[in-house]
Every structure is written in C-alpha cells, then in structure tokens.
C-alpha cells in the first residue's frame, strides 16, 4: 500500500484522539470511583442499580423511624413500669389497710398515699415524648386523661414504617391500657373513698381489681416490649441490608481503584509515547537532499 505523509499524520491524530478519549473515560472512573457514570455506560444494569439505590435510600428511613420508635417505646415501657410500681405499692397498702390492727386514722393516712400514687399513675398516663402523648392513640397532640380520669384520646394507635412490610406501634390507646378490664384511675378513686370512709370490706374487695389492673399494665408492657424488639430487629435488618446493598452496588458499579490506576498509567504511558512519535514524525524528506 502506498503511504503518504498526510495519511501518516492523520493516523497519528486519530490515535492521539482515541487515546485521549479513553484516558478521559478512565480518569472519570478514577475521580468518581464508578464504572457507571451515565445511563449509556451500562444500560442493562440500570434497572438493578435503580432498585438498589431505591432500597438503600429506604433503609435510611427505616433506621431513622425505628430509632425514633425505640426511643418512644422505651419511654412507654418506663412509664408503664412507673404505673406498675405505683399499683404494687397500692396493693401493699390495701393489704395493710385490710387488717383489723389499722385504725381509721391510719387508713386516712394510707388514703393520702394512695391519692398521691393515683397522681403518679395519672402523670404516667399523660406522659409525653417530645410533646407526643404516648397513651393518646393517634390523638397524640393533647393530654388523653383529665383529672377525673376521663379518656379524650383516640382508640386508633399510630404506627411507623420500619421495614418494607414492617410497622411498629409508636403510641398506645390509653383507654385500653388504663380502662381495659378495670378503670385504674376510677378504681383508685373508689379506694381512696373507701379508705377515708373506713370501709374495710370495700378496701379488701379492691384487691381483685388491683390484681387485674396489674395484669392489664403488665400485658401492655409486654406489648411494648414486643414492639421494641420488632423495632430493634428492623434497625439491625436495615443496617445489615444497607451494608449488603452497598457491597452489591459496589460489585455492580464501583471501579476497582487498583485496576483503574493501572489502566490510567498504561493509557498515560501510551499517550506520552504517541506524543513522542508525533513530535519525531518530521522524518527526513527527499526534498531535503536535492
């Protein structure tokens, strides 16, 4: 084949351009750390990459929601613990007040303590987490119980999404916790009245309701524990999934730093060589010798 000077220069130009374009591609991969920098880099992978992206973003939300839910559930557990302790103390006082050795005056003092414990229960029932009333159901913006113990909250319970199909209850229906089988606050009011009236029979009879109340609170507390476990599991699952999704994403789109560096070195070397060839391309010509 005949070779012409213009053809040689064209070849040098084309090779430099191809090399520069390839170097630019690999440089972009090195800078972004990604093999896929635009849809056309790997159209077949896009659907997978998209799904992974979406699922990874979801895990952030799940973890965030679960963490907030756990904080709320922990406080609910602690408030219910407070109620349980108060009711246990009331039960001790009732046992004490039921005996014949206790005078009417002493029953009056016990009534005062029971009244104070009722306040503790009411405070727990109206407790809130960062302004959210925990036992108001979905009506969490207002205190669910008034001083008389009337429930003004909602019977619907709020829930928060902590997984693709996992939801955690983040507030309880106060009427079911405090007014389920026994109206706890009403029962305490009755007990105070009976103590003040020195009505030993009624005081003794309240033991059954007290035991039921304790069971009622324990059940709610167990429910809170279950939800806390669900939220904890969801946090762990989301974190594990996020890490796995990250690895999967890396497998799909991340550029191997060592490989990218090697490629880049090779390309830069080739480019430098091509430049040297181009610079030395001014070979001798027959015209120089005539």
């Amino acid at each position: 084949m005949r070779v012409t000077q213009a053809g040689l220069w064209e070849m040098v130009r084309q090779n430099l351009s191809t090399n520069a374009s390839r170097t630019r591609e690999v440089e972009e991969q090195a800078v972004t750390g990604l093999l896929v920098n635009r849809p056309s880099d790997a159209p077949a992978l896009l659907a997978q990459v998209d799904r992974l992206n979406a699922t990874t973003l979801d895990q952030d939300v799940y973890q965030q929601n679960a963490s907030q839910a756990v904080a709320q559930l922990n406080q609910m557990d602690s408030e219910l613990g407070r109620v349980h302790d108060a009711l246990t103390r009331v039960r001790e006082l009732v046992v004490q007040a039921s005996g014949d050795v206790v005078s009417a005056e002493q029953r009056g003092y016990i009534a005062l303590e029971v009244e104070s414990l009722r306040t503790t229960v009411l405070q727990a029932a109206n407790s809130n987490f960062a302004g959210r009333y925990l036992f108001a159901g979905t009506a969490w913006d207002t205190a669910p119980f008034d001083d008389a113990g009337t429930y003004a909250g909602s019977t619907d319970e709020p829930r928060s999404r902590v997984g693709a199909d996992t939801w955690v209850t983040t507030g309880l229906d106060g009427s079911s916790v405090f007014q389920g089988d026994v109206d706890v606050l009403g029962m305490l009011d009755g007990l105070v009245t009976a103590l003040n009236a020195d009505d030993t029979a009624s005081v003794e009879a309240s033991l059954t309701d007290l035991d039921t109340s304790l069971d009622q609170v324990m059940q709610s507390r167990a429910g809170v524990g279950t939800e806390t476990n669900v939220a904890d599991d969801a946090t762990e699952l989301a974190a594990a999934l996020q890490s796995e999704l990250g690895t999967r994403m890396d497998d799909l789109v991340a550029a191997d730093p060592a490989e990218t560096y090697m490629k880049l070195s090779e390309l830069r070397q080739a480019y430098s060589t091509a430049l040297q060839v181009a610079a030395s391309g001014k070979s001798q010509n027959l015209f120089d010798l005539i």
Binding site: G7, V36, P39, S40, P43, A44, L46, N65, T142, S154
Partner: protein, 461 residues
C-alpha cells in the same frame, strides 16, 4: 529526419518536461488540500512522418493530466461518509440529553421520586409534624422540578436539532446548486475526465452532501455527476431540486425535496447528518412523550389518593400536583400546587375528617403508591422511571457503538483513498528529478541540433 525536425522534437521534450514539473508542483502544493487528488502527466508519442522508407518519430507531447482515483472506492466512501455522519450526529445529539437522565445520584428521575416516598415514609413516624410535612412538600417540589427540568432539556434539544436541520438544509441547497454549476462547467470543458481542479471541487462537495444528507452519486460517462438524495435526483446538469424543512400537524419536522412544482416528503429516507438529526429528534420526542405520560400518571395518582384523605384541619384533600388535563405537556408543566407549597398542612395524611394528629391512614395509602404495580405497563412508578432512563441509556450506547463502528469503517476507506489519491512528497521529489533530467536532456538535444546547424551555415559561408 532534418535538423529542424530534431529542433522541434527537442522543443516538445522541453514542453513535456516542463508540464511534468508543473504537475509535480501542483501535487506538492495540493498535498494538504482537502479533497485534492494526486495528478500524473499523461504523455503520448506523436504520429511518425514517413520519409521514403523511414517512419520518422516527431517526439512526445503532454496528452493530459490523469487524477489517481478509484471510482468504486469513491462510491463506497460516499456511502460510508453518509452512514458515519448519520450515526455520529445521532450519537452526539442523544449524548447531549443523556445527562438529564442521570441515574447515579439524587438528581435523576427515579431518585427524586424515591425521595418523595422516603419523605412520606419518614412522616409515618409523626404525620402531624410540620417539619415532616414540609420535607414531603420539599421532596415533591424537587421531584416536579426534576421532571420539568428533563422535559425542558428535551424540548431545548429538540428545538436545537430543528434549528440545526434548517441550517444544514441551507448548506445542502448551496452545495447542490454548486454541484449543478460544476456539472455544467465540466460538461462544457468537453473532456470526459474534466478539468482536475473542478473535479476535485465537485468531489469535495459530493463528500459534503454525502455527509450532510447521505447523498449518493452516479457518475455518467460524460463526466456528469448525478446526485441522489433519498433515492430522488437532487442535482444534475446545471439544475438542482432544493430541500426544504416544514412541520407536520404534530409539530414534527418534515424534510421535503422540490418536485414538479411541489414537494415530496423524504423525512423517513434522508440520511447523513440530516437523517441523524431527524432520528435524534424523533427519539427525543418519544422520550418526551414517555416523560409526559409518567408525569401525568404519577401526579394524577397522588392527586387522586390525596383527595381521599383529610388534611390537618379536617378538610378533604386537594390536588398535590398541577398536572393539567391530559398527558400532553404534563412533564414540562409539572409543579406542586401553589396552595400545598405555601401550606404543608394541606397534605391529606388523615383517613378521617376528625383529623386526629397522628392519623396517618391516608399517608400510608399515599406511601403504598410506591408499590402500586398497576400504575404503568412497566409496573410501579419507579420501574417506569427506570425504564425511561434505561431506554435512553440503551439508545445512547447503541448510537455510540454504531458511530464508532461507522467511524472505523470510514477511517479504513479514507486510508485506502489516501493511499490511492494522496500525495507522497518523496514520490513527487523523484518525479521532479526525473523531469529535471528530462528537461536538461531535451535542452541538450536542442543545443546539439543548434550546433550542427551552425556548422552547416559556416560551411555555406
């Protein structure tokens, strides 16, 4: 032969050598001119004269200049130029809009929709929380502006393609007119091979026409080049049919060729850069339609679900997005309704008019739209967004790969053309030396004949 005969033969030798040097100098100076074809001097012996029993030669003369070309290669080169130009134009145009569909960060179509659902998911923790609601509105606004930005980008690219089409057709018409004129000039020259410089210029124009509209050429025996565009004669002897650009009812560009007082639609057949622009514009238009459909369906689904719920004040939900009455233009006009932008409490998260603070019944229904596989033929909204981006990615990758393949083929053919028609300056230097020597030899013949004549004249004196 007489001594006068030797003088005229020597003079012809000088003329041939001089013409050779002239051709060589043209080759050397034309070596870097695009479209220049290497020439060589064609010499021929003159008819001999009979003197008695002898046939006496009259020397040589310059019979013409030959251009080093390969007609078949020329036709292949024209075809390859058109195909390369069409594919590279398509690739360049499509790559230009690919950036709008960024799939690797949070500025893309699917990602911005993800963020809406993520904001809704976060709001389940506290549907009454004003900042959570504001985050949802913010994510929705960002989604709407992403959709609108892509739609605007596509529209700009389509407008750019149409403007480029118009400019390209103007240049094509100028080239067709010049080819027609050159055809006439070459025809008038009377030589089938034509004057080399006019032929070079015409070949260059034919290359440009191949590149811009995929024109093909038929070279007639008389040296005329008939130019065909999309199978129709576009330029012949002294006359040409102009190409024009118009718009059909759907607002799409129509490329036509003038014919019998009217025009003929060649949009589907035209090649080269114009064909690439038409194809690119058509692709972008398809994506714009898909995007409109996507925006309309997603926006309407949110509006419908929001209307089923109740806002923070217990009123029935209003439209979240302004999507218009139909899919047409929905993407470019997609915005979060002004009322919701101003007041995030209008998000109808509650399932009942009693509007309890933590009622997120309708919020959960809005969130469930994320997994609603009945929204699109491709399934969920996310899958539809993904399908649009994947379609763009596939089209750009295919156009890039086709463009590279066509460029490689064209490069091979150009190398082949260069090896036949290109100038090698070393070759020209040897020609120069050869003609220089021939010139000196002819001059020597003249000098010898002159000396002999002088001798004869002295004898007579």
């Amino acid at each position: 032969m007489s001594l006068f005969g030797a003088l005229s033969v020597g003079a012809r030798g000088l003329a041939v050598a001089s013409a050779g040097i002239d051709v060589t100098s043209q080759n050397v100076t034309g070596a870097r001119t695009p479209g220049f074809t290497r020439r060589s001097l064609r010499t021929q012996q003159m008819a001999p004269v009979q003197q008695g029993a002898l046939f006496v030669g009259q020397g040589a003369y310059a019979a013409g200049v030959t251009r080093a070309t390969d007609r078949l290669l020329g036709v292949r080169l024209v075809d390859a130029t058109g195909a390369e130009s069409a594919s590279s134009t398509l690739s360049r145009q499509l790559s230009g809009v690919e950036g709008y569909f960024d799939a690797t960060n949070t500025t893309g179509l699917g990602e911005s929709l993800d963020l809406v659902f993520d904001a809704l998911g976060s709001a389940t923790a506290d549907p009454s929380d004003a900042s959570q609601r504001q985050a949802v509105v913010h994510a929705m606004t960002s989604f709407a502006s992403t959709v609108a930005r892509i739609a605007d980008g596509l529209q700009d690219a389509m407008t750019g393609a149409e403007e480029e089409l118009g400019a390209s057709l103007d240049a094509v018409n100028d080239a067709l007119a010049e080819v027609a004129e050159l055809n006439a000039a070459i025809g008038h020259s009377g030589a089938a091979s034509g004057p080399a410089d006019l032929l070079d210029r015409r070949d260059q124009l034919l290359g440009e026409l191949a590149s811009s509209v995929g024109a093909t050429v038929e070279l007639k025996a008389d040296g005329q080049a008939v130019v065909y565009v999309a199978g129709h004669v576009a330029a012949g002897l002294g006359d040409y049919r102009p190409l024009s650009l118009s718009e059909n009812a759907a607002g799409e560009p129509v490329v036509s060729i003038g014919m019998d007082g009217g025009t003929f639609d060649i949009t589907g057949e035209v090649g080269g850069a114009v064909g690439g622009l038409v194809a690119a514009r058509s692709r972008m238009s398809g994506w714009a339609d898909d995007l409109d459909e996507f925006a309309f369906t997603v926006g309407s689904a949110f509006n419908t679900q929001n209307a089923l719920g109740f806002d923070a004040s217990g009123a029935a939900g209003s439209d979240l997005f302004d999507v218009g009455a139909s899919a047409s233009g929905a993407a470019a006009g997609l915005t979060v309704s002004a009322a919701v932008q101003d007041d995030a409490s209008l998000l109808a998260f509650a399932g009942a008019a009693t509007a309890r603070a933590g009622d997120g019944v309708n919020l959960e229904a809005l969130l469930a739209l994320e997994d609603d596989a009945t929204l699109f033929a491709d399934g969920t909204a996310r899958a539809a967004a993904s399908a649009i981006v994947a379609d763009v990615g596939t089209a750009v990758a295919a156009a890039d790969s086709d463009s590279e393949a066509q460029a490689a083929l064209l490069s091979d053919l150009e190398t082949l053309r260069e090896s036949i028609s290109g100038v090698n300056t070393d070759e020209e230097a040897t020609h120069l030396l050869e003609y220089q020597a021939a010139y000196r030899a002819s001059a020597k013949v003249l000098s010898a004949a002159d000396e002999l004549l002088r001798t004869l004249l002295q004898l007579g004196g």
